[in-house]
């Protein structure tokens, strides 16, 4: 069987493209603002649908992280107007 010989730089090129193609699968595609229907469900938020658990988990988050908010998906100041 006749082997296919590629020049060194062509091989490099092919490997680079292959590596980038594979690695691009690891990139994070940001969720668009209109695609947040699932993220807006109570079950996805702090504490799930239980308001007591929500309050409890938010309290822990605030204490541990020194920050609060960011538990919802809609609204928020984008500062763009």
């Amino acid at each position: 069987m006749k082997s296919i010989k590629l020049k060194k730089h062509t091989r490099c090129c092919c490997l680079s493209i292959l590596a980038i193609s594979i690695l691009s699968g690891c990139t994070i595609v940001p969720v668009k603002p209109w695609e947040k229907a699932t993220l807006a469900q109570d079950i996805v938020k702090f504490g799930g649908p239980n308001p007591m658990m929500k309050k409890f988990e938010e309290h822990i988050f605030t204490s541990k992280e020194g920050s609060k908010g960011g538990g919802g998906v809609s609204g928020g100041g984008c500062g763009c107007n």
């Binding site: 730089h9 691009s24 209109w34 695609e35 984008c78 107007n81």
Partner: protein
């Protein structure tokens, strides 16, 4: 020579192309003819396009204000059009009934229209005229009806 050039340019080019961000429609941009056909804003009229969804709390807050604007302030120079971007049609319809949406609504279940406008937040309000974007407001805005009146005045549109 050419091979060396290709070798040097391939990696940066691929990285550059893969990292290019998408841009939302800006003031002055022309709307795709197919999308414009769906919006159906008559020539010469200012289309006030409001993107909303049932899960978006800020959108729900703006609906009554838009209803008021459409009922009391909208003239033959303007047309309010809501674009409901809910993927589930029934969820969108229930939301529209719940908030008694009185202006015309297009149910964008495939989300093609909003993908074309590509706003960076919800709710999103675009002003369009003759298939061109002439203004926009993105995100939650208090008293949106008053803001619309101010925007239209700046755009030279006479209200009642």
């Amino acid at each position: 020579m050419l091979n060396a050039f290709i070798k040097n340019i391939t990696l940066p080019l691929v990285l550059l192309l893969s990292s290019l961000p998408t841009f939302s429609l800006e003031v002055g941009d022309t709307i795709d003819p197919e999308i414009a056909k769906q919006l159906n804003i008559p020539a010469g009229k200012v289309g006030i396009i409001d993107f909303f969804a049932s899960w978006c709390l800020s959108c729900a807050k703006e609906i009554p204000e838009l209803n008021d604007f459409d009922a009391n302030e909208s003239t033959n120079q303007t047309k309010v059009l809501g674009i409901d971007v809910d993927e589930e049609l029934e969820e969108g319809l229930v939301f529209q009934r719940k908030f008694n949406v009185k202006f015309a609504v297009h149910n964008d279940t495939t989300q093609k229209i909003i993908q074309h406008f590509d706003p960076i937040g919800m709710p999103a309000l675009f002003y369009i005229k003759d298939n061109k974007v002439i203004g926009k407001r993105i995100g939650a805005v208090d008293n949106i009806d008053e803001k619309i009146k101010l925007d239209l005045a700046k755009l030279g549109v006479n209200l009642l």
